[in-house]
């Protein structure tokens, strides 16, 4: 089974957030990019499926040259190929159009990705791309079983401890939940070696996309700020013993 894993390069701590001049994106100063944790679980699931059933894994990421780092990381973890799509956009509609166009260029039976990215917290691109490709999809998948008749049987969360068992004909796209497989450690030596491997690059021209498909429309950012609190939190100060005594009183009077 050939699997494509969509992974996003996300920043760590960000500062100096402001709205871009066109009102369509948030600009910020960010630390080094890392693979989005949810997507790393998708990669682990791809590796597990490959171990049991063979096939090839392609890691794909949309972003600027800095996204290369996470593709090398995916190669070090065991992906066979890596593709970077040279496009930066925070707009889910643009991103899903670009990812769908890139997937059309790749040979796959299954697309795996996470449930959301930690930066934009949108969780839209996977399912929207599946819809554009006309392939079946499932969200919040916690178990994948490859079957012989070119289908997969998956278990997905419905919330509140309920699950659905779903059969999907391949090709299909799955957004997997964290914890679907344990995260594995990659030795530094292997990470260094992986940087020798080639990473293919798709430009937007390669994907045949027109600029109007790549323009966010219909909205603009008007504010970015620290969240309003549901109510003001009462912060306790003092030594651990003083705090403990105060907390115990608060707990007792709540019962």
């Amino acid at each position: 089974m050939n699997i494509v894993v969509c992974c996003k390069a996300v920043p760590g701590l960000v500062t100096d957030l402001k709205i871009g001049t066109d009102g369509k994106a948030i600009q910020y100063q960010g630390q080094l990019l890392a693979i989005n944790e949810c997507d790393e679980y998708a990669l682990e699931e791809a590796l597990a499926l490959k171990r049991s059933g063979g096939g090839q894994i392609t890691a794909i990421s949309m972003g600027n040259i800095k996204a290369l780092d996470i593709l090398y990381y995916a190669l070090a973890k065991g992906a066979d190929k890596a593709v970077r799509v040279d496009c930066e956009s925070q707009d889910p509609r643009v991103a899903s159009t670009v990812i769908a166009a890139a997937l059309r260029k790749l040979d796959f039976d299954l697309v795996l990705t996470g449930t959301q990215s930690r930066d934009t917290l949108g969780g839209q691109v996977g399912i929207a791309a599946a819809n554009l490709l006309g392939i079946p999809f499932a969200y919040a998948v916690v178990d994948v079983e490859a079957r012989e008749n070119h289908t997969v049987k998956v278990r997905k969360e419905l919330g509140g401890g309920r699950y659905a068992e779903v059969e999907l004909m391949l090709p299909a796209l799955l957004c997997v939940q964290t914890g679907i497989q344990p995260l594995t450690f990659v030795p530094p030596a292997r990470r260094i070696r992986a940087r020798q491997q080639p990473v293919a690059s798709f430009s937007l021209a390669d994907l045949g996309l027109q600029s109007e498909q790549l323009t966010p429309r219909g909205y603009r950012f008007v504010g970015v700020r620290a969240p309003e609190r549901a109510h003001q939190v009462e912060l306790l100060h003092g030594s651990p013993q003083e705090i403990a005594a105060a907390l115990l009183t608060k707990i007792q009077e709540s019962l």
Binding site: V14, A128, F137, G160, E165, M169, G218, V233, L247, I251
Partner: protein, 328 residues
């Protein structure tokens, strides 16, 4: 275009999810301000009770697609049916619950309708005449406000807890049945069965005090600090998802969107940053105490009492204080 507000009804086991009533409350206020109709759409089979329960929540119309083929339905087909319903009324806004089911449907519906979708929203309101949504960014440490252009339509997926359910309305909604050839909708997936997490020994829903541990504990060997606190307080030990993902505690102790929803008298969150998936499951707790070393952790957005500090100092001190209080 009608420019109405369409609320998509979420059902679990044939019953309306509480989230749907919050959507109706928000939709009702917006519809009044925008002088448009509030429309609810329910799809499924044998929906008589659902339609009855939707009455009295301020809707002008209730659209129903009731078909045996919608009994156990894959996401593909549900998205197709909801999108068809939306096409018939051409709404300005489609409101959906930001739930696991909502997040499977929202991107597909928006993509089919060529609409923008805004997910994970904490608010949607009219602000300076523009429909404006508020949603988190960067691990929920920041909120962005996004204004829709005058002509723009959108699907908005709202977090649970975004609005309280409001008083009942005397308005009687018109119920319209929409017939659709559901069986012939192209589908390459099917739901085989719905299952429930087997009931374990832990009943989080009944606990009066919950001590919950998050990724901040850092190590399986340190879970005992929080377990001892739970013992000393007569509390039940719970956790957030990452703790289960790495195997430090079993799934039956998980609080959050995919685990249990709880509302104890006291909820002590130790080293829990407060991802929305966790907050969804515990924000209704009567008194929330958060202990976290990061003052910007989103858990402090819902906490009543906060301690910014090292949980390995605070938790043992609290355990000791509780033990001493017991013996006195």
């Amino acid at each position: 275009m009608s420019r109405d507000i369409l609320v998509l009804v979420e059902l679990a086991d044939g019953k309306i999810e509480s989230m749907t009533f919050q959507l109706l409350a928000i939709g009702r206020q917006l519809a009044a301000e925008m002088k448009v109709e509030l429309v609810a759409a329910a799809i499924g089979h044998q929906l008589e009770n659902v339609v009855e329960a939707l009455q009295g929540h301020g809707t002008d119309r209730i659209l129903v697609v009731d078909d045996p083929a919608l009994t156990l339905t894959a996401g593909e087909v549900q998205a197709h049916v909801f999108a068809e319903v939306a096409r018939q009324i051409e709404p300005r806004l489609v409101l959906v619950g930001y739930s696991l089911i909502g997040m499977e449907l929202t991107p597909a519906i928006a993509s089919k309708l060529g609409m923008n979708a805004f997910t994970n929203c904490v608010n949607v309101e009219l602000r300076d005449g523009a429909v404006t949504v508020t949603r988190p960014l960067f691990d929920s440490t920041m909120h962005a406000q996004i204004a829709l252009e005058e002509s723009a339509t959108a699907v908005v997926a709202l977090q649970k807890g975004s609005a309280p359910a409001t008083a009942r309305s005397a308005k009687k909604a018109v119920v319209e049945s929409i017939t659709m050839d559901v069986k012939s909708i192209p589908s390459r997936s099917r739901v085989l069965e719905i299952t429930e997490e087997p009931k374990g020994d832990v009943d989080l829903a009944k606990a009066e005090i919950i001590v919950a541990v998050g990724r901040g504990i850092g190590d399986k060997e340190k879970i005992h600090f929080t377990a001892e606190l739970a013992d000393a307080l007569g509390a039940t030990l719970a956790c957030s998802r990452p703790v289960v993902d790495v195997g430090w505690l079993p799934r039956e102790r998980q609080v959050g969107a995919s685990g249990k929803s709880v509302a104890p008298k006291v909820y002590v969150a130790c080293g829990i940053s407060g991802a929305i998936q966790h907050l969804t499951g515990m924000r209704d707790s009567k008194r929330i105490i958060a202990i976290n070393k990061d003052p910007n952790a989103p858990i402090f957005q819902v906490a009543h009492i906060g301690v910014v500090g090292d949980l390995f100092e605070i938790v043992p001190a609290l355990t000791k204080a509780a033990q001493e209080a017991q013996t006195r």
